[in-house]
């Protein structure tokens, strides 16, 4: 199981306030409706005003949950215009979990975060070059394929 793992708990504690909603209990019905929840497992990363910044469905073992959460947090920071914070989280995800299912996504958005912070196109192209080299068969490589010459 995932949540008892120390690495999972530590990552959650460092970045999040955790809340669980029982989808079968009437007390959670308004929240289920608000977030249009239809299937479990269902994990959302919310801003402090309740706005949903990232979500995913499906069970993940610890070695995939932690990188998935890091990628979610990176996206959350990016959408809050904290490009430096986003880049740091993506770098951590790639350093700790370079072969995870979300590593290519992390590499894609790391390049985006660095570019948005620097306004230097070379940051984007260099980052996406690493994506092409390291994760050539990923959908994220396809998503940047328009940039390939």
């Amino acid at each position: 199981m995932t949540y008892p793992e120390q690495s999972v708990a530590a990552t959650i504690a460092a970045h999040c306030v955790p809340v669980q909603i029982n989808t079968q209990d009437r007390s959670g019905a308004d929240i289920v409706a608000r977030y249009r929840q239809v299937w479990t497992p269902d994990v959302r990363v919310l801003a402090a005003d309740g706005f949903e910044l990232y979500r995913w469905n499906g069970y993940l073992p610890p070695f995939e949950f932690v990188p998935q959460l890091l990628v979610a947090l990176g996206q959350a920071r990016l959408r809050q215009h904290d490009e430096g914070g986003a880049a740091a989280i993506y770098e951590e995800a790639l350093a700790r979990f370079p072969t995870s299912a979300v590593a290519a996504e992390a590499q894609y958005y790391l390049a985006v975060a660095r570019y948005k912070a620097s306004h230097d196109g070379a940051d984007l192209m260099n980052g996406w070059g690493k994506l092409r080299a390291r994760y050539p068969d990923s959908i994220w490589r396809v998503k940047q394929s328009f940039s390939e010459t």
């Binding site: 199981m1 949540y3 999040c16 497992p41 402090a48 069970y59």
Partner: protein, 37 residues
Amino acid sequence: MINTHPSTIPWLASLDEALRRAKAESKFVLLDFFSPT
């Protein structure tokens, strides 16, 4: 996520409380929808 195992995670049961704490602590909220069956 089936919540049938002990965890060190201090899960809240109130989204409003989680949002309040997230604002106070400059954190995000991790909202986990689970089904016990």
